[in-house]
């Protein structure tokens, strides 16, 4: 049975009258990648700051590796690390000097070897002697990622790690993260606004809204909660009849001739196709989009705005 590397119990953070994180509980198992999702201001970064010990919770308990964080801070922080698009590194130092200092802080054995390995992994060797201030946003992010892996962390907190990377490097980073998870059972807490990325990376996702966990499941199961699928058709004949059929069945329809977009429950798709056939509606192309995590995210955000 896999052990918990992180267990959060009833964690709450109030800033005056504002409750940023409201009584949340969750855990991460060894080798698991857990997605932490939510709109801006949902409480994701606040949660990560509390997990790093740079923000004191109002109440609640945090356990890493079955040890209480407050009482074992240094021992725990040696085994975890983080990467965030919101942090920077000292800009008057070179990339190598920065990594060297971090490696010393974490007492990494054979620092040079580890730094050189990470310089290769994150494709930053060519600018290792450049000042951090001269790097682009994407290059800086890769250095921050290298910093985050310098101490061979058993758990890593990744706050939008690929947000400023180009697609090629982002894919390389995802591959590296997956390999760390598979080969070394590194656990990860992963936040991102790229839902496709979360679906591909995370076995499980928790969804925060106004500091509360409002959903927790696999990305597939969360997507299933959204019942509406989309059917896109390019209709050559009887386009008005399609409109009538949709109206009769109370299906949402959008027309941009010759494109027709029908929104309906997944179970109604066979019926739509059958009716189109009966009514001799000729279509040259059809595509069916099942709901995904992005639809779930948008639906949750919509509900939040409606409240």
């Amino acid at each position: 049975m896999l052990t918990n590397v992180l267990e959060v119990k009833n964690l709450t953070k109030n800033f005056g009258k504002v409750c940023a994180v409201n009584n949340i509980s969750f855990s991460i198992k060894e080798g698991e990648i857990l997605g932490l999702l939510g709109s801006n201001g949902a409480g994701k970064t606040t949660t990560i700051q509390m997990l790093l010990g740079t923000l004191t919770p109002s109440s609640g308990d945090i356990y890493f590796f079955n040890k209480e964080f407050n009482k074992n801070r240094e021992e725990i922080l040696k085994k975890i690390n983080f990467c965030s698009s919101y942090i920077r590194l000292p800009w008057k130092m070179t990339v190598y000097e920065n990594l060297d200092v971090v490696a010393r802080l974490y007492e990494v054995k054979d620092r040079k070897k580890r730094i050189n390995k990470l310089l290769d992994v994150f494709d930053i060797k060519e600018f290792q002697n450049k000042l951090v201030s001269s790097l682009s946003a994407g290059q800086s992010m890769r250095v921050i990622l290298a910093k985050a892996f310098i101490n061979f962390p058993r758990l890593i907190l990744l706050d939008e790690p690929t947000s400023s990377l180009d697609p090629e490097i982002a894919e390389k980073v995802r591959t590296f993260l997956k390999s760390e998870q598979e080969n070394f059972k590194v656990s990860m807490l992963f936040t991102s606004h790229n839902m496709a990325e979360v679906e591909s990376m995370c076995a499980r996702v928790i969804f925060l809204n106004k500091g509360k966990i409002i959903a927790e499941d696999t990305p597939v199961n969360l997507a299933k909660e959204i019942e509406i699928s989309r059917v896109d058709l390019i209709v050559d004949k009887n386009i008005d009849r399609v409109l009538e059929i949709c109206t009769e069945n109370r299906w949402e329809v959008g027309i941009d001739k010759p494109h027709i977009k029908v929104e309906l429950k997944e179970k109604d798709i066979p019926r739509l196709l059958s009716v189109l056939n009966e009514e001799k509606v000729v279509y040259s192309e059809i595509s069916i989009e099942k709901p995904d995590l992005e639809d779930f995210f948008l639906e949750m955000s919509k509900r939040r705005n409606e409240k």
Partner: protein, 261 residues
């Protein structure tokens, strides 16, 4: 010339002035400090015109020894600011680094820089003015030790304020210690000060050191009791400084260290 546009630039800086403690300090604090210190120094020198060679040694020794206090506190406060300026505070304190380890590190850093800085100043005084600060002899060791501790204690206190209230009060990093300067009697005896200021000076550890410095220069010795008083007050300052910094660090974590960057 479009004076509306010129005025726009003036207004831009007036707005900044309103929100910036640094600019206010530039305008009032430093001139006030200069007037206090050089006013009292001038009054003292006017009465001691017959002892000019010792006065020169006293002034240069005062400059060098004040550098010890200033450098010790500056290294703590500016190193903290450096971490804030480069948004590195979260990186540091999300690592296994303990507060006491950070404090010790900046103490060591302060000592190293002070040795170079003070050494360089002593050399300059010797080369340019033929003034040997080492003429203070054995006393130089306890003087430097005591002044360093004062600098560290004030540095911790100011750092506590900075870590609690952030960069908007960063001017204290280089200006905080100057508040002790008029009461320390760096360039003039404490007796030159008005009575109320003399009473304040009794609680300022550096005042005993600079009085001692003058006593050594003019009489060749000083009262050991003054050294003891200086160290005793310093111990209290140091304990208060450490406790205050620790308390402010904890308070800052209630709002989050990221909030400071």
């Amino acid at each position: 010339m479009n004076f509306n546009i010129v005025w726009a630039v003036v207004v831009r800086h007036l707005y900044n002035f309103k929100h910036s403690l640094d600019r206010l300090t530039d305008a009032f604090y430093w001139p006030a400090m200069d007037i206090f210190i050089w006013g009292f120094t001038s009054m003292y020198i006017a009465k001691q015109a017959n002892q000019l060679p010792q006065i020169i040694i006293m002034l240069l020794s005062g400059v060098v020894l004040w550098l010890v206090v200033w450098r010790a506190q500056y290294e703590i406060t500016v190193n903290l600011l450096e971490e804030m300026w480069s948004s590195n505070l979260v990186n540091l304190f999300a690592s296994p680094l303990r507060i006491r380890e950070w404090v010790l590190a900046v103490f060591i850093l302060g000592l190293i820089k002070m040795i170079f800085s003070v050494g360089f100043s002593i050399l300059l005084a010797l080369v340019l003015y033929k003034t040997n600060i080492f003429s203070l002899g054995f006393y130089l060791i306890p003087f430097i030790m005591s002044l360093t501790i004062t600098g560290w204690a004030v540095g911790l206190f100011v750092s506590g304020l900075i870590i609690r209230y952030g960069m908007r009060i960063q001017t204290f990093a280089w200006g905080g210690i100057a508040l002790l300067s008029p009461f320390s009697g760096v360039y003039y005896p404490i007796s030159t000060l008005p009575l109320w200021a003399q009473r304040v000076a009794m609680y300022v550890p550096t005042s005993y050191i600079f009085e001692g410095m003058r006593s050594v220069i003019f009489k060749g010795s000083m009262l050991y009791g003054d050294l003891v008083k200086s160290f005793a007050i310093n111990i209290i300052y140091m304990i208060v400084g450490l406790l205050f910094f620790n308390l402010m660090f904890k308070k800052s974590k209630l709002r989050g260290l990221a909030d400071l960057e």
